[in-house]
Subunit: 410 residues, 2 copies
């Protein structure tokens, strides 16, 4: 038991992030330190590549290439949306056994944790010794027991940088601007838009989150109010906003609602929610210029403005996973916990404590009107964006020139 | 005549860019070198601020703030979509005269050049001595007599960086991915997506430009072909794509076509074109995963990955404009011309040579099938993106592991 020895397998599942390969590189390079680990394998397209035996030998990758891959967004081992049931997990286990995999790592969201849990049960049932560690990743930031999840800070930074520029754009050509941000149940990514605001009149002026019921009437009233005050209005909306009954607004629009293997409605990859919100304003106000964008897949794939905090944490959860599995001979899910302002420590929790649960924004992060975030949320997110976060830039002081004609005429 | 002396006015018009304030800072700081220039004024919201006498005193801005503003995207003096006719231009001239403006600079596209031309005619008619210089800017890259236009390289770089990440995302979760890129008549910005492709299988695999008639049948056929070959397909589409009669595809979709003051159909700020193209593929193939994003206003406002070449050229056209007006006592439009590989020189051309004309991509930049760019286009754009352009990143070498179960079973 103490000297569990054999091969290692690592895979990446679900939506990629800009730093998910840091975790891959961290785990693979750390694994090379342990004699217990013989071959280091990767599976292509997550669990799908396991059941189809599409494995690659990561031991043979150069350290240099692994370091370059760490800096490359999106899943280098490719991904999958497969959500394994029992029979699927049994197949996974058969392949693991056939390849003498004793250390199994899955980089993914809470579904990945669940997969590991079921596979481990099969292993237990056959007295096959295996350590399975879940390496957290999600741009939605919705894993329980984690202060935050690798992938989120970089996606959040993209959103904050994007809104910084978009708010200036809207300032120069005023009107209503709506941008739809990823986030099915948790509004963390949409809330990150608040970091674009430096001065009092900066946008986003309104932020709508899935944690609060979305009312079309309130939305129109809020936009009108801001527009009347500032002559413009910038709005951040989560793709997952729901009505008071919990029905996603996007689901009510789609002619033909598309669902993924997890039974989730397809939210990203179309512009209809943004266009509908735009229509609400166009049809219910006399505001002339109304524009809506949907950030789409840019949020999780844009590799240019990753957070250095996120990069180093994503690296470390990969390393820690291998340490827990081999160094401590344990199975579980690596968690990130904030200590002080700002530092983190890593822990390992049981797989079933992460699986199939979703963290949403706490009440203290959302204002009373349910249309913006609180200072507490800004305190929470600020260190995650990294010290090189650029944000909103400079403004002219704009010293007024005395009019020459207007005075005479008036 | 040689000692024309008085105040200077500068304004910014049309769609902002990520580097438009470099031109502003360049012109204002250069103007401080000349004794002929007394006060340096800026107009808020372009020509609209002139006729309403909303002027600010830029002489009083600190150099430090001007330098910070240079690094800030979007028009610091705010912008306008007003396209002045004769009467509007007469009003502009009245305000210029009232404030003893002798040097007038407008940072904008070809419309701005036309405005300067008309204003100068009024000045001539009244024997009022003025120098008017147009400072070029446009993300569309559609000004004639220019090798390229400030603002384009940074927007192009955003598009290229975006497609680099998005292609990796599509590689990890395969399907058809379509992104709609800005560009009404000229496909330069959409064509920049080609720079995301490093390896032979990299996307974008198809690029559709306004310069070639868009046929739905060919589009579906092209996508199917790529998908059959690679199991996935990434497509870049210009928002301005037109059918063989020259009707924009977007115009055919819109229930209620919105037009701006220039009579142009509203293309950006909605997701309908992307959603329609997605529908063409969903309804005419059996491909399961089809996603469409519209880049929207991010392309011109994202301040994080500007091209350093673009920044320095935007700065220089601002400086050169002041030099031509004051140092050489001339009126006209500053142009950028490529000399060698890669350097540029600046020239001044008559205002009416730029006004109301549109440059589109030359035939040698587009492939025979009209669905991709040529190597010549890549040679053209490569130096514009700047040496720090990051692009597509690293891949695993992915050494195959011998299957254990599959071999036995098969």
């Amino acid at each position: 038991m103490d000297n569990l020895k054999g091969n290692m397998l690592i895979a990446q599942g679900g939506g990629p992030t800009a730093v998910i390969n840091q975790s891959l590189a961290g785990a693979v390079l750390k694994a090379k330190e342990y004699e217990n680990i013989e071959n280091i394998y990767g599976s292509l397209n997550g669990v799908n590549g396991i059941i189809n035996e599409r494995l690659v030998d990561l031991s043979r990758e150069t350290s240099n290439n692994l370091e370059m891959i760490a800096e490359t967004p999106s899943s280098a081992l490719l991904s999958t949306r497969d959500k394994p049931g029992k029979e699927y997990c049994r197949k996974i286990f058969e392949v693991l056994k056939a390849h003498n995999i004793r250390f199994f790592f899955y980089i993914g969201g809470n579904d990945s944790s669940d997969t590991l849990r079921i596979v481990e049960e099969f292993a237990c049932g056959e007295n096959y010794d295996i350590r399975a560690v879940h390496i957290p990743k999600t741009v939605d930031n919705d894993l329980v027991l984690n202060d935050h999840t690798p992938g989120y800070p970089s996606a959040a930074r993209f959103v904050a940088e994007a809104f910084s520029g978009l708010d200036l754009d809207n300032r120069s050509l005023p009107g209503v601007y709506i941008a739809v941000v990823m986030g099915r149940h948790a509004g963390f990514l949409t809330a990150a838009s608040s970091m674009a605001s430096k001065c009092s009149q900066d946008g986003p002026h309104l932020i709508y989150l899935p944690e609060r019921a979305f009312s079309t009437g309130n939305f129109i009233r809020d936009v009108k109010k801001v527009y009347n005050e500032y002559g413009r209005c910038v709005v951040a909306v989560s793709e997952g906003i729901q009505d008071e009954k919990g029905t996603p607004i996007a689901a009510k629009l789609a002619d033909e609602v598309e669902k993924d293997a997890h039974g989730n409605i397809q939210l990203s990859g179309c512009g209809s929610l943004g266009d509908t919100l735009k229509g609400f304003i166009k049809n219910n106000t006399d505001i002339g210029r109304v524009r809506a964008d949907t950030f789409g897949y840019l949020q999780r794939s844009f590799g240019v403005c990753t957070s250095e905090v996120d990069k180093s944490e994503a690296r470390e959860v990969g390393e820690m996973a291998v340490y827990y599995a081999v160094g401590e001979n344990k199975t579980g899910s690596v968690t990130i916990n904030r200590v002080g302002d700002y530092a983190v420590e890593y822990n390992l929790v049981k797989l079933d404590r992460i699986a199939a649960k979703t963290k949403v924004m706490s009440d203290e992060f959302i204002n009373n009107d349910g249309n913006y975030v609180t200072g507490k949320f800004k305190d929470y997110i600020r260190p995650l964006l990294g010290s090189s976060f650029k944000g909103s830039g400079a403004r002219l002081r704009a010293y007024e020139v005395e009019p020459a004609l207007r005075k005479k005429d008036e």
